[in-house]
Amino acid sequence: MIFKRLAILFSISIFVIYFGLFVTLFYYWDGSLFKEILLSERTLYSIKLSLSAATIASILGLIIAIPSAYALSRYEFIGKDIVDTILELPMIVSPAAIGAMTLIFFTTPLGDWIQNNYIQFVFTFYGIVLAQFITVTGIATRLIKASMDEIPTRYENVAASLGVSPFKAFFTITLPLSKNGIIAASILTWAKAIGEFGATITVAGTMAMKTETLPIAIFLKLANANIEGTVVLIMVLVGIGLTTLYIVRVLVKRSSKIW
């Protein structure tokens, strides 16, 4: 009984920490400023930029993460352990370091050649997407792999014995069965991408109306000692994050009933 109460107390303490931080924002709340900052052209651009970059980076990340997770979950191949270990790189290395590594890459002849002949990444929208993509893909792969590990390979073996190719079995058995894991990974990937700061600022800079995502806008407002403005932008970011998580949760619940 004591253990149960203790455990519940710890879980409530997590809520208290996060909620307490959020409530603190209201100390500097200025209602008249909220509408003005929220509807300003610069903030609306940051919101649009953050949403689009995070969405594109997450989709690209998932396109790579899903087959990679399948390979890591199902097959034995040379270098598998190294690939598996390096997935955690974005978590163990600071995002600023990831951004710096990306920036350094584009100073090499190969990086320079890519930028000159294909896409300019440094200080552009593509740079934001790339920084977020690099930060989230490893995590997405790890999460989806964990979900695929839970699905017994026997399902695919039986499917193959019924004359179904591995490709079709992947789309008709493995993918639907890991649906919940992939959705959860997508949510976390997107949430991580939209809140990404360190790598993004290093690769794309802080150009207003060009590469200023919401987290960067928050940082700039705070750097200028504009606490009221910072509070508004934090609330916008939190609002976007929580609303998205809520919508996805409702959608998942509905689809679970249909499935």
Binding site: P152, R154, N157, S161, L162, G163, V164, T172, W259
Partner: protein
């Protein structure tokens, strides 16, 4: 026919060593052996789940050793059945037909419906697979496997989780289906009763080696060696020395039992016996008779001694008999009605007879 030739499979320190078996078309061939002996590994190698280090797998004269699973033509029912949980019963049973590279799909859809009807699952077609009972799941797995039209069905202990009544019901069902649709079954089991009921042929695998393969009755009645006999649960294994060769039978002296034993010549399989040779022979406990004083007594292979213990196990009783002047015990299985007539109790003196035609010599 499936022909396995010198199949060697290595798996994390375990080796399945040079297995050669013929699985004849239309037969039910059962791979049996103790847990961890390699029978499932062999089944998985045939299916294509495990890499064959050496040897070949031929199906109807065609070498399929290097083919991927989906091109081998073996339908597989694993131990946990692997019913796809996100699909309905109907989607499960037509899965192979819908997504597989199969011919005559219209005919196969008809076959799936016909099988659903005859196995009594046609009323479950719209139900989610996750909501099925154990017996229903078995039936869905069988219909799904047979509906592909594959001629070969590989079963990995698919009935092991069922209770006795349902298991027996499915034995009969599987037999009927096999007869009706004429497919070949290769089945893995550790259940001797299941194997002897289902199979025409049995292969015994112990510690990665094929110990014996052949017609069911032959393998069951005459285990080739001590390992197979022990796997079959035969406790009455004795050493003896051949002391005479007569017309139709050998005479051996068994010091362990303190008596002479007559063994029919026909029960010595595969090698010559000469006078003075040391042999091991065995007899199943149900082939030993406790003699009734009111009936004509047998004359050969008689032992006198005392009843040490009697265990009742439902329809049969297990009697432990101690031969006169010896410390070992002989195990006897008697039907309950016969025990009632004998009205024996521990420490009673008794005379037993080892049925000569059921004694077999071990390699």
């Amino acid at each position: 026919m499936v022909e396995l030739r010198d199949i060697t499979v290595q798996n994390r320190g375990f080796t399945l060593n040079k297995i050669s078996i013929d699985i004849k078309t239309g037969n039910c061939h059962c791979l049996i052996g103790p847990t961890g002996c390699g029978k499932t590994t062999l089944l998985e190698a045939i299916l294509g789940l495990r890499k064959v280090k050496s040897g070949s797998i031929m199906v109807d004269g065609k070498d399929i050793t290097a083919l991927p699973i989906h091109k081998r033509g073996f339908s597989y029912v694993p131990q946990d059945l692997a019913i796809f949980p996100h699909l309905t019963v109907y989607e499960n049973i037509v899965y192979g037909i819908k997504y597989g590279n199969l011919e005559n799909k219209d005919e196969l859809y008809k076959l799936a419906m016909e099988l659903s009807e005859s196995l009594g699952i046609s009323n479950l077609l719209n139900r989610k697979a996750a909501n099925l009972s154990g017996g229903e799941r078995q039936r869905v797995a069988l219909v799904r496997a047979i509906s592909t039209g594959n001629k070969y069905l590989l079963l990995d202990e698919p009935l092991s989780s069922l209770h006795e009544g349902l298991k027996r019901e499915l034995w009969f069902l599987l037999k009927e289906l096999q007869k009706k649709y004429n497919f070949t079954v290769l089945m893995v089991s550790h259940d001797i009763e299941e194997a002897t009921f289902m199979a025409n042929h049995i292969s015994v695998i112990i510690a990665g080696k094929l110990m014996q393969t052949g017609v069911k009755d032959e393998v069951y009645q005459y285990p080739a060696n001590r390992e197979v006999a022990e796997f079959f649960g035969i406790k009455n294994i004795f050493d003896a020395q051949v002391i005479g060769i007569y017309d139709g039978y050998y005479k051996a002296y068994c010091d362990m039992l303190g008596t002479e034993i007559a063994i029919p010549v026909g029960n010595v399989k595969g090698y010559e016996i000469e006078k003075g040779k040391n042999i091991s022979f065995a007899i199943r406990s149900e082939n030993i008779i406790i003699q009734r004083p009111d009936l004509p007594m047998k004359k050969d292979n008689i032992l006198k001694g005392v009843i040490k213990t009697i265990y009742n196990s439902g329809p049969t009783s297990i009697v432990l008999f101690k031969p006169e002047g010896k410390e070992l015990v002989v195990e006897i299985t008697m039907p309950e009605f016969a025990m009632a007539k004998l009205s024996l109790k521990p420490n009673d003196e008794a005379s037993i007879a080892l049925r000569m035609e059921r004694i077999f010599v071990l390699d």
